[in-house]
Symmetry: C2
Amino acid sequence: MAATLPSTSVLDLALAAKAAARKLATVPSATKDAALHAIADALEARIPEILEANARDLEAGRENGLSDALMDRLALTDARVRSIAAGARAIAALPDPVGEVVDGGRLANGLEVRKVRVPLGVVAVVYEARPNVTIDAAALALKSGNAVLLRGSSSAAHSNAVLARIAAEAASELPAGSIGLVGGDREALTELAQLEGIVDLIIPRGGEGLKKAISAVAKVPVIYAAAGNCHVYVDASADLAAAERIIVNAKVQRPGTCNSAETLLVHSDVADRFLPGAIAALRAEGVELRGDERVRTVDPSVNAAVESDWGEEFLALILAVKVVDSVEEAIDHVNEYGSGHSEAIVTNDRSAARAFQLGIDSACIYVNASTRFTDGGEFGMGAEIGNSTQKLHARGPIGLRELCSTRYLVEGDGQVRA
Amino acid sequence: MAATLPSTSVLDLALAAKAAARKLATVPSATKDAALHAIADALEARIPEILEANARDLEAGRENGLSDALMDRLALTDARVRSIAAGARAIAALPDPVGEVVDGGRLANGLEVRKVRVPLGVVAVVYEARPNVTIDAAALALKSGNAVLLRGSSSAAHSNAVLARIAAEAASELPAGSIGLVGGDREALTELAQLEGIVDLIIPRGGEGLKKAISAVAKVPVIYAAAGNCHVYVDASADLAAAERIIVNAKVQRPGTCNSAETLLVHSDVADRFLPGAIAALRAEGVELRGDERVRTVDPSVNAAVESDWGEEFLALILAVKVVDSVEEAIDHVNEYGSGHSEAIVTNDRSAARAFQLGIDSACIYVNASTRFTDGGEFGMGAEIGNSTQKLHARGPIGLRELCSTRYLVEGDGQVRA
């Protein structure tokens, strides 16, 4: 069985993962893919067991007065388990990032250099209510040749434990220790985040509270599956019908996600023509608007925005709206208030599009498309573990390649340095 | 003039650098290259001024009893300044990493996605005695579109100040604030390492003391220009003459560098035939040997190694030597004691070579070549700012590309997510 389960100490789990990682790095793709299929099959075969454990979490959630939204995120159903299994099979179908030659050539002295992708080693994923992350994260980590340490929230403890146990038992062809479920209290999380030299990366996937808790104590490298304060800017030359479709999609299609728009910027030349229809369309979808003075001149019924609205990730049907006089003003606003995630310009002006793409320091910059496309699946990378807004190592969707490092392999016939 | 000089506070310097970085990100290659040539020309034109400042540092160094080695690293000469200028011109001649498309394609919905290289923003480099790093680091940062904050050691304060001033004056076509020289005490360094959201990366280039000082306080991302405990393993099937050339080169060609060998591992099948000649050749170059019992059985005049010798980066003419019974034992030794920098196997056995390259978790793994080749220049990347042994973002030589991030640019014609 490939897992060590929560009764074990954090250090022991991590050491077992480290030992497993050494072996996993050289496990052939076919073996890893077979393990992911075995996990998917086992999940489907053991649905009653999973739903029983989930029912215990749901009951505790009701007793603890969890919100409807959190209860929904926590709940598993037959269909949701099948969807989790399908996700694992989809990850098995992706190309193996390990061994990919990303650069290389022959040097003047005859040395052959290849820069190849290798696993990071031990990847820890810390996540909140949704139990599906247990399998998603494990599948992504294993496919990329990493051992994984999973740390879910206590509210999903029974669900996570049964999912991890099923995965570990099904992945029996992988080295023991490949999947570890970290239990315990906040101190266990601190210990996990400080295992320098054992844990190679920790990915917190959750809200700002989790991010702050980890960043205060972490000694191992961290990539945050980040929040997003995303912007849509409607330029003077925009196709206004397309602009309306884009802002409505970016705001309402799934408002709780990090790639949803939180602020609409509109060029003053088109504010009078664009805003009334856009406001009506957004309100028809239940969006509350918070505008600056110039927006409220166009439509006085819009609530007044306060300074904090520009920096806020609402994650809800609320949109801040501001009129600007130029693409430069839009760029400056985004660079000042944005979180570096995803921004869109709607324009038919080539130089405005170019200025926006060059001038904004964000992970993903769209011309005439919704910010909602920032997603590993949409980008053709397959599943992802979140989106990164940091600049080092991984920026944008964190997929299989981002869970890897590289190594230089150099072959010679006796070369020494002169 | 492109610099703000040390009288300014760390925060003000960093904010000026941040503002400069926004502009530098879109400065054309030709402008950056012209600035590097102007810096090189100005350095050569102002050699007397540079040597005068350097003489003051040397005088203070003599008064403070600096070692001969440190005095040599501190000293500038006409030839050394010309070599620094030549280095800046060589960096100008490298391809611009900014704007390079590293991945891309058209999605099923018609969106065109490009993943392009962009500057990190503000890069801080913290370095010890050698004043040439002032120009090397500035040139690498500017070429890759980054503003640079330079923090040298107090022992080279006059030299660094005049070099930074000359560079900043010569680079007058670049945005003000592009080159900042950070002065002050240890607290100023702490402040620099904590400017989250302003400084995008800090690179300490120096010994273990500097590394510990930075890692204890840093809140901004750090890449260490790392130490190296490198190994050469002579396999049973090795060409023993090549093996002797390689270990002598890896140990003695420049023993103070991070890619020099510190431990020699020898397969027991060839220990009797290989060691006597290798020991003689190494001793002829002044190398002190510290062997395990089996080495001392072959040559009792070799000093006995102690446990700490296996983990030590000697950076001197000292070599630990051990006899092993298999490539697996060599791999385990390297993974246990190594620092993940550079390792070499000398062998004619394909499966031993493959096992060594797959099984060792280091940045660079050589077959039949010296570890001394781990170097940006040798790898055809041009100049480097050091070598990284960490797994995230940059592993191996830190050159122009490693001073960059990426950004996704996505172009559509009104796409929204279904």
